[in-house]
């Protein structure tokens, strides 16, 4: 019922992926040692220069065709790059949306011209994208978007408001989900995805401050913004199908369970040779949970690699949702364990790395189980699929 036909006993990364891992590690060690990057936990940081350097190595859009700036490497190699970045919390926000979401969407649904224009730039780390799905009235209920696009000569006029748009103040474009025909009957019809230039006339980006005072998400107001016809992604009216066809891979990657992992590393450093039995047991449990999560996530990446070569993909959507659900709670439990095992008063102005990471993780604890689909919505989907399977068996 879950992971059917997946041979967990055969999960070993090919030699070229492990060779790549060493390359990435060396690169990151040099970035850290030189002070070019200073990791922060909780929210991936936005650093265009870092993204350019990663792009120059060929580590963005790695699985894409060469003609669009990709390297035609395997999903397993991409997996390795991603987990190495996460293990040190490298500042990947300027390229991650492109690498993980907008790039793959463009590959699947984009026109030749769009692919040629955006994909090589994303792969170079030079075209940061944001995602404009949520609105004040539409969170979990994505289909109730109110932002609307009206057909005009040569394009569309878009008006409405988006919220929680991460990095819209620094990105170049965003994918804007909007209604292109009036809601009648099935409300999932009549939605479209437009690629909107965030610097276009009529676009206003206002910061929304996170409760720690940090600025990473925004409100985006659209007032009669003109979007040319060639910036419609895929088909007009097929927005819903396009958005929800997000690949399982995108939901089950290491970014769903590794955002607090560097805190675990610092926790181990702090505890050192402790004689505390409970500390050893908790560290053991956290390690075991990571081990299993990573195996599940890897299995999905393996399936993609196999499927991509044989052009037959098993549906591992439920498994991917499970990985996200387990993963977001795992991230939270690392934070909780760290604060209970090392008895300090967490402070936002800490200088010590462990203490700073701990404070950053506490501030961002709530977000893992909210962004990209809440726990409740995710579990509803999982249960529906499992019960459906049991019912029909």
């Amino acid at each position: 019922m879950l992971f059917d036909d997946v041979d967990f006993s055969a999960l070993t990364l090919p030699a070229e992926a492990q060779a790549l891992r060493r390359e990435v590690r060396t690169f990151l060690a040099a970035e850290l040692a030189s002070g070019r990057i200073v990791p922060h936990l909780g929210h991936a940081q936005f650093d265009r220069e870092f993204s350019r350097r990663v792009g120059a190595r060929g580590w963005i859009g790695m699985t894409w065709p060469r003609q669009f700036g990709g390297a035609e490497r395997s999903y397993l190699e991409r997996f390795v790059v991603t987990e190495e970045m996460l293990a040190v919390s490298a500042p990947c926000a300027a390229h991650w949306f492109g690498d993980r979401q907008t790039g793959p969407s463009l590959l699947r649904h984009g026109s030749e011209a769009q692919k040629r224009r955006f994909l090589p730039a994303i792969a170079r780390g030079e075209s940061p994208f944001a995602l404009g799905m949520s609105e004040p009235g539409n969170g979990s209920d994505l289909a109730s978007v109110r932002t609307r696009a009206v057909k005009v000569d040569g394009g569309w006029r878009v008006s409405g408001q988006k919220v929680w748009t991460s990095w819209a103040h620094l990105a170049e474009h965003f994918f804007c989900l909007c209604r292109t025909s009036p809601e009648e009957g099935d409300r999932h019809l009549g939605l479209s995805q437009l690629i909107v230039d965030l610097h276009a006339t009529g676009v206003t980006v206002r910061p929304i401050r996170f409760m720690s005072g940090a600025h990473h998400f925004n409100e985006v107001f659209l007032d009669e913004v003109f979007v040319p016809d060639d910036m419609v992604l895929g088909e007009v009216g097929a927005g819903w199908r396009q958005v929800t066809s997000e690949l399982a891979l995108e939901r089950s990657g290491p970014e769903r369970f590794m955002t607090t992992f560097p805190l675990l590393i610092e926790l181990v450093r702090r505890l050192g040779g402790t004689a505390d039995r409970r500390a050893r047991q908790v560290v053991g449990q956290l390690t075991a949970r990571f081990h299993a999560l990573r195996r599940m996530s890897l299995a999905i990446a393996f399936e993609f690699t196999r499927g991509a070569s044989q052009r037959t993909m098993r549906d591992l959507g439920t498994e991917a949702s499970l990985v996200k659900d387990l993963g977001t709670f795992y991230e939270r439990d690392i934070t909780e364990a760290a604060r209970l095992l090392v008895d300090i008063e967490p402070r936002p102005d800490a200088e010590d790395t462990f203490e700073r990471y701990l404070a950053e993780c506490i501030y961002t604890t709530p977000v893992g189980t909210i962004r990209g689909g809440t726990t409740q919505v995710l579990r509803t989907i999982i249960a529906r699929k499992l019960l459906g399977a049991a019912g029909s068996a």
Partner: protein
């Protein structure tokens, strides 16, 4: 209702009214920058709330520790940016119990943790204080700092003008002042240093500190639950209020249980401190309320989703305080070990009597 109950409900009503009218979200937000709210302090002081539980002959407001406890819960509910617990439950308690009058104004309280941390030397007929105390709550805004200093023969209570100390400002997760205070050979008059009075010990100080945080957390949990219920009733997704979804109902129910347990544990501990040392009750309270704080703030944020993690929305005033207060005056780890050790030392035969003899 007894006369005591009348006084208690009057106090709670007064506190509710003051905080509702004068402790707005803007007040709490401004305190992130200023450290506290002097305007609110004036009003609260006028109403004599800070010195409840301190005898009137020592310039206090009278009443019991349980009365003050009820006020602290209300203060926690409103995230009141004031050293209310430090003033009444800690500093004024030490002064009054040691025979000193309590000065007006916000007070900070601290105690010597380690042997070498402070040095209090007699010089002729006065004293000299040297050393450093880390993360003293509210030191930078207090008008007096009351310190419990260890001595070879006995512990002493010293009152110091913070203006004469070197203070490095620091904050907790909710930006409340937690400052490092250096005493550089500060001269203190004979009447500024006295023998610690009956019951004023480092153990008792720490217990009272933990009690204070448990009470404030119980209040913050009340507020987080109220906000979550309000949000569940009004936020509409998929054409209905999210409180209509069973997944949300289950979370609200779980949350309610945590809040109830927190109030029971914190308020009963106040009574036990009043009647005895309250060691067992305070340990249980700090542990249980800490757990409720962890579970409760997670549920509150989950129900609010994105809106709840913003600076604009007031939920974080409660939840970040819960996160900060959990670790102050001993986390669940600290009190868990201390309580567990005590139970194990006493042995199996003592467990049941220990749980039932005092209440």
């Amino acid at each position: 209702m007894s006369e005591d109950d009348d006084i208690r409900s009057l106090l709670v009503d007064t506190a509710q009214r003051i905080f509702r009218d004068h402790c707005s979200q803007r007040t709490v937000e401004a305190a992130k920058r200023d450290g506290w709210s002097p305007e609110l302090w004036e009003i609260v002081q006028q109403a004599q709330l800070p010195l409840v539980s301190i005898p009137e002959e020592k310039c206090g407001a009278g009443g019991s520790v349980s009365d003050l406890a009820a006020v602290l819960r209300v203060a926690g509910r409103h995230s009141a940016p004031l050293p209310l617990a430090e003033t009444g439950l800690l500093a004024a308690w030490m002064l009054a119990a040691s025979g000193l009058n309590v000065p007006p104004g916000p007070l900070a309280a601290a105690f010597q943790r380690t042997e070498g941390e402070l040095r209090l030397e007699p010089v002729a007929d006065s004293w000299r204080l040297s050393g450093e105390l880390k993360r003293v709550p509210w030191a930078s805004i207090a008008s007096r700092l009351v310190v419990l200093v260890r001595g070879g023969d006995c512990d002493r209570v010293a009152t110091v003008d913070p203006g004469r100390c070197t203070i490095a400002r620091g904050v907790n997760l909710a930006w409340e002042p937690r400052d490092d205070v250096r005493f550089e050979r500060i001269a203190l008059r004979a009447d500024e240093v006295v023998h610690a009075g009956r019951g004023v010990t480092i153990e008792a100080f720490y217990r009272r500190g933990a009690l204070a945080r448990a009470l404030l957390m119980a209040g913050a949990l009340d507020r987080a639950l109220e906000r979550s219920i309000e949000h569940a009733r009004t936020r509409v997704q998929f054409g209905r209020a999210i409180g209509r979804f069973q997944a949300i109902q289950q979370e609200i129910a779980r949350f309610g249980a945590e809040v109830a347990a927190a109030a029971a544990a914190a308020l009963s501990a106040a009574g036990e401190v009043e009647r005895g040392d309250g060691e067992l009750a305070v340990a249980c309270a700090k542990i249980r309320v800490g757990e409720a704080a962890a579970t409760g703030s997670a549920i509150a944020h989950q129900i609010h989703a994105a809106i709840g993690v913003t600076e604009e929305f007031a939920l974080h005033h409660s939840t970040l305080r819960l996160q900060a207060w959990r670790s102050e005056y001993g986390s669940e780890t600290y009190w868990g070990e201390r309580l567990g050790q005590r139970i194990l030392d006493a042995g199996a035969e003592r467990l049941w009597p220990l749980l039932t003899d005092s209440a």
